[in-house]
Amino acid sequence: VVTYTDSEKLLFARSLVQNIPDPEIPVVTLEDLGILRDVTEVDSEIVVVLTPTYSGCPATEAIRSDVKNVLAANGFLGAQVRVTLSPAWSSDWITPQGRQKLFAYGITPPATSADGCLTLPSPAQNTIVAFKAPSGGVRCPRCVSVDTSLVSQFGSTPCKALYKCRVCKEPFDYFKPY
């Protein structure tokens, strides 16, 4: 019988949770999306802390039960999932790897605040949040052209806008900066 130390168990639990796919866009994991805040051990139970993406995101409940099921299937029976709202999730937290996966899957990843496309509200001052299209244009995930136009800011899920490509004429999803 192999026995594991507490820190090994925690590492194992963390790797399990990191690799759980998002229920809505299964090509990216919780780690890729940047919604995993913490995996810790409290009173010998695993505690997973998540940040929801959107207020009304129906995936949050599915993610919560996925995390518990995966952990339970691997022997972490009493695991708790906690949701923290602060600090609010930003699409800036999607990892570079997550962005590549999204693009390969056919969803253009969001422009970031580093591109000047997203001004986040600062609690310290009355900053009004603003979104701008990236200066280079939103790139089509099929033909990689930037000659594209916005169809609707509201797409198939709350996190996506609908674009169309003027070159290959295909519509595509753009993950909104948030």
Partner: protein, 408 residues
């Protein structure tokens, strides 16, 4: 005086009248008598025989679960009984002989207002919440107890939150009436998305209100089991989608969203600095959502206003109809003043000029005129609503009211 409620459940290895539990059953009356004579004991749930064993048959925990629900003056008075009373301490040590070991929490405490009586449905909810979230004012253990002041009703605070939550919920419900009726597919989806954002905001705030109150009602109770006069949304959001032009006039929800999203951009920006950290977190999230809403509404205001004669007339009529109902947003009463003084929220009246600065340039570009400010004042935020809210609630609440406690 606030009082402490506690729930303690135990999964029996055999029926209460079986030989296995015989010695447990035999000492039950003695232990209960000791509890009732303990310092700080207030009340416990019991049946006609004086204990709680027959209650299990009809309890939400199931018939194999023994329940113990009681109220105490303080956590210390409860601790004194649980661990220092000899009879009870003896029973605790032999617990494993009679009861299964449970993976989920079997014990929780919470504070109640003086006039409240705990019930098993609420107790079950708190145990589940404890399992999900660990110790919090809503449900805690001896590992981390909370002071009643953190969870017991600050009525003005919870009413301040309810006004924002109710406005989001009712606006969401009105918008969702467009599902399947949008003027084009993309708009159908867009308004559904916007409605979902508002619903998400409402849900987060209702959960927060439920915890702030520390009373026996949850998010669903707040949405589905309150009556018309207990909703505190501004009247504007409950107004129907119809106009003199059409039964479903798309100019109405667009004008409403335009006015409301502009207002909420300012409101959320202020609330992001709230000392109520949960409210601040909801605000930080919601401001991004309402920025998209405002952007979307602006584009349609431009298209309608600067479009055909009919689209111009319709959006003009919608704005003229709705504008008087916005006056209510910029009035402050004792609820707003309390929130402002406690740095939970901000006063409304000072936001008026900034709001005009947001909407007027868009109207001008759309060849529309800002309607003159009138003296009309609706009273939705005081719980006095238009005739439209009762019909909206009837539709929204019918399922929950006809099937109490129904789950998906």
């Amino acid at each position: 005086m606030p009082k402490l409620a506690q729930i303690n459940v135990a999964l029996m290895k055999a029926p209460i009248d079986s030989p296995l539990l015989a010695d447990f059953a035999a000492q039950l009356d003695t232990v209960n008598a000791h509890a009732e004579s303990s310092n700080g004991f207030l009340w416990r749930l019991k049946d006609d025989t004086g204990n709680a064993t027959t209650i299990s048959a009809s309890s939400p925990f199931g018939s194999n679960m023994l329940v113990n629900l009681s109220t105490w003056e303080t956590p210390d008075s409860l601790i004194a009984f649980v661990y220092r009373n000899n009879n009870h301490a003896d029973a605790l040590r032999t617990r494993e002989k009679w009861f299964e070991k449970m993976p989920s929490p079997h014990f929780a405490m919470w504070w109640l207002a003086d006039d409240e009586v705990p019930n098993l449905i609420d107790a079950k909810r708190r145990l589940e919440y404890l399992q999900e979230n660990g110790d919090s004012p809503y449900a805690f253990t001896f590992k981390r107890t909370f002071e009643p002041s953190l969870s017991i009703v600050d009525l003005k605070h919870s009413k301040y939150l309810l006004r924002i939550a109710d406005e989001a919920l009712i606006h969401s419900q009105r918008l969702s009436e467009w599902c399947g009726h949008g003027p084009l597919l993309e708009e159908d989806i867009a308004l559904g998305n916007v409605a979902l954002d508002y619903l998400g905001q409402a849900r987060l705030l209702f959960s927060h209100v439920a915890q702030t109150e520390g009373r026996s009602r949850d998010e669903d109770d707040l949405a589905y089991l309150r009556n018309e006069h207990e909703f505190f949304n501004a009247t504007l959001v409950e107004l129907p989608n119809s106009s003199a032009f059409a039964q479903r006039d798309y100019a109405v929800p667009i004008a409403k969203l335009f006015l409301h999203a502009a207002f909420m951009r300012l409101k959320w920006a202020g609330l992001a600095r709230s000392l109520d950290t949960q409210l601040a977190a909801v605000a930080a999230k919601s401001i991004k959502e309402c920025t998209y809403h405002f952007d979307h509404a602006c584009q349609w205001i431009l298209r309608f206003g600067d479009g055909t004669h009919e689209s111009h007339d319709r959006i003009d009529a919608a704005l003229t109809y709705l504008m008087p109902y916005t006056n209510e947003w910029f009035v402050d009463d004792e609820i707003d003043e309390h929130a402002s003084a406690k740095h939970i929220g901000q006063l409304n009246a000072p936001m008026y000029d900034d709001w005009i600065k947001l909407i007027e340039p868009v109207l001008t570009e759309a060849t529309l005129t800002l309607p003159a400010r009138s003296g009309f004042l609706s009273r939705g935020r005081l719980g006095e609503h238009s005739e439209y809210l009762s019909l909206l609630l009837a539709e929204m609440q019918s399922l929950a009211r006809q099937h109490p406690g129904v789950k998906w």
